[in-house]
């Protein structure tokens, strides 16, 4: 009974997702298509952070750095050196991975608040580079004029809808890869690190190495998202990787539900929507962001997806209770 209900909920969710993401977009206005593209890109970013926050139990406040670095790599290579999509794609992710491999040595021994502070500082270093290394990054003017890539399709990607579907394909690829990752033996070991690092060591895990690899993998997927952000936006600036950006990603994860992949993706969608919607009415976006954060912590500390799960379970238990008592009557 229980299983049937959760699986029907899953099927309903899947059908809704297919409708909203796959079938309906041609009927949306271009504003909505653009917004949806942005949501997908940030969903990948939020899921990548969740590998650290939700699965490994390490809160990183510098994750936008890896997103930005990959974006800058694409921006510089495609505008200055006229490089093609594949080269930019690989370079962007590689650069994020490379930097995370170096940073990893500094962060992987830390946990809790110390991890948070070190990643925050390192994120600021990347932001500082973007801001100050004017000859390379254009400083706070950023780099503009990044053309949509030619990935060998007969249709140009300047059309928002075509670009949306391309991003959707890459989003699904990233989603499947991460879904397998968190269910893999390695993903399982990350949950162990989250629950008890001392026990992991005694069992025979080199827990440092697992944290290090989690950090690098997470940066790789952040770079993945960054590549598409640069192509989507056509513009990259230090503001894409500042502290606010990093905090926003953490909020996406916490709002959606750490320790699941769908949760952060949902959180990303909600935050992106609110940001666009609310900023049409007020400049005080950060105030709203802060309030959402506090409300989440107070009323849904496990995130929306788990809140929803509990709610469904509660309702279903009630329904079952009623049914059985009806039967008796």
């Amino acid at each position: 009974m229980k299983d049937r209900l959760t699986s029907t909920t899953k099927i309903i969710g899947l059908i809704l997702a297919v409708l909203v993401l796959l079938v309906m977009p041609p009927f949306y206005t271009s504003y909505w298509v653009t917004l949806l593209t942005q949501m997908l890109i940030f969903a990948v970013l939020a899921m990548s952070l969740d590998i650290l926050v939700g699965y490994t139990g390490l809160s990183s406040f510098g994750h936008a750095g890896f997103f930005g670095v990959a974006g800058y790599a694409v921006a510089i290579l495609s505008t200055r050196y006229k490089m093609g999509f594949l080269f930019c794609f690989i370079s962007g992710i590689s650069l994020s991975v490379l930097i995370s491999m170096i940073f990893g040595f500094l962060v992987a021994h830390a946990t809790g608040v110390y991890f948070l502070i070190i990643t925050l500082a390192l994120g600021m270093v990347l932001w500082g580079l973007g801001f100050r290394w004017v000859t390379m990054t254009g400083g706070d003017n950023g780099i503009s004029g990044i053309a949509r890539p030619d990935i060998g399709l007969p249709i140009a990607l300047t059309d928002p809808l075509t670009f949306y579907y391309v991003v959707l394909v890459f989003f699904l690829v990233a989603l499947v890869m991460m879904a397998i990752l968190v269910r893999s033996p390695f993903g399982h070991s990350l949950k162990g690190v989250r629950e008890s690092e001392s026990r992991m060591r005694v069992l025979g895990y080199h827990s440092w190495l697992h944290k290090y690899l989690a950090y690098v993998v997470s940066a790789a997927f952040a770079g993945f998202a960054g590549v598409f952000w640069a192509y989507f936006n056509g513009f990259i600036s230090p503001f894409d990787m500042d502290l606010n950006a990093s905090i926003e990603i953490v909020l996406m994860v916490i709002l959606g539900g750490p320790g699941t992949l769908i949760g952060p993706a949902l959180g990303a969608g909600i935050i992106i929507f609110l940001k666009n919607f609310i900023s049409a009415y007020t400049q005080r976006w950060l105030l709203i962001l802060g309030s959402i954060y506090i409300l989440t912590i107070l009323y849904a500390p496990q995130g929306l997806i788990n809140f929803l799960k509990d709610w469904l379970k509660g309702r279903q238990n009630k329904a079952c209770g009623k049914k059985s008592s009806d039967g008796k009557g």
């Binding site: 397998i180 269910r183 033996p185 390695f186 399982h188 629950e195 026990r199 992991m200 060591r201 069992l203």
Partner: protein, 258 residues
């Protein structure tokens, strides 16, 4: 040829030798010059009043702390500076006095963590764990062996203390260790649960060397031939049940001077 020669020497080497092992925490010398030899397949009980340094000694053996002085030999090989995970890879397993499990994971997930711990597949990222049949089979065997099969999908934090203590032992044995360090496995158990645990401990493969910390004299005497007493970080005495029972100093420590 070389490998058989190595195995020969290993057969004759004791499982564990501690030489003049000490550790200081600031001004406190928690373990003070302990010498100890544990033969292969031996069952040894460590006893001593609170603060005697029993758990600290376990932490030294399993590599949680590096010793301030002294050396540790494991099957003839010096491992004094090995990190914990390498000692585990050599077949050393332990349990904790205060239950230390993956609380928000299920029972099966806890055991699976131990199944893959000593295997290279723990780094595999692009294949689901449930498709690793070797680990799944081993996990099912362990769950059955420790009577946990029915609770396999329950979160560990929702289980009774007795069940949690049993999982501690089950996890330690999952990796088929050569040396098992049991730190008060019966801590906080009711007398019937303690009885069950004693039966379980006696069923453990005799090839596995076991060191047991235990306060309960009944459990200790039932379990081991030889008992080592620690007192204030130092080796006090060692002997058979009768020798320990009749030792005047031991009586004084446990019951107070007359």
């Amino acid at each position: 040829m070389g490998s058989t020669g190595e195995r020969e020497t290993k057969r004759s080497d004791p499982c564990l030798v501690l030489k003049d092992l000490s550790i200081d925490f600031g001004g406190l010398r928690a373990v003070d010059g302990v010498n100890l030899t544990i033969e292969q397949g031996e069952r040894r009980v460590l006893m001593g009043p609170n603060g005697a340094g029993k758990t600290t000694l376990f932490n030294l053996i399993s590599g949680i702390y590096p010793p301030s002085r002294g050396r540790i030999f494991y099957f003839g090989k010096e491992i004094s500076r090995y990190p914990t995970y390498r000692r585990a890879a050599l077949g050393m397993a332990r349990t904790y006095q205060v239950t230390n499990l993956f609380r928000c994971l299920t029972v099966a997930e806890n055991i699976l963590m131990a199944c893959q711990a000593l295997d290279r597949t723990k780094f595999v990222m692009f294949r689901t764990l449930s498709s690793c049949h070797g680990h799944m089979d081993r996990c099912n065997d362990v769950l059955k062996e420790f009577d946990l099969a029915e609770k396999r999908n329950e979160l560990v934090k929702n289980l009774s203390h007795g069940d949690q203590r049993r999982i501690e032992v089950a996890m330690a044995l999952t990796g088929k260790p050569r040396l098992l360090l049991l730190d008060e496995p019966a801590a906080g158990l009711s007398s019937s649960e303690t009885q069950d645990l004693t039966v379980l401990l006696k069923k453990i493969d005799p090839a596995i060397t076991i060191i047991l910390i235990e306060h309960d004299m009944d459990v200790a005497f039932e379990f081991a031939e030889r008992i080592t007493i620690l007192y204030q970080g130092q080796f006090l005495t060692e002997g058979t049940k009768e020798e320990i029972r009749n030792n005047a100093t031991v009586q004084e420590i446990y019951l107070g001077a007359e």
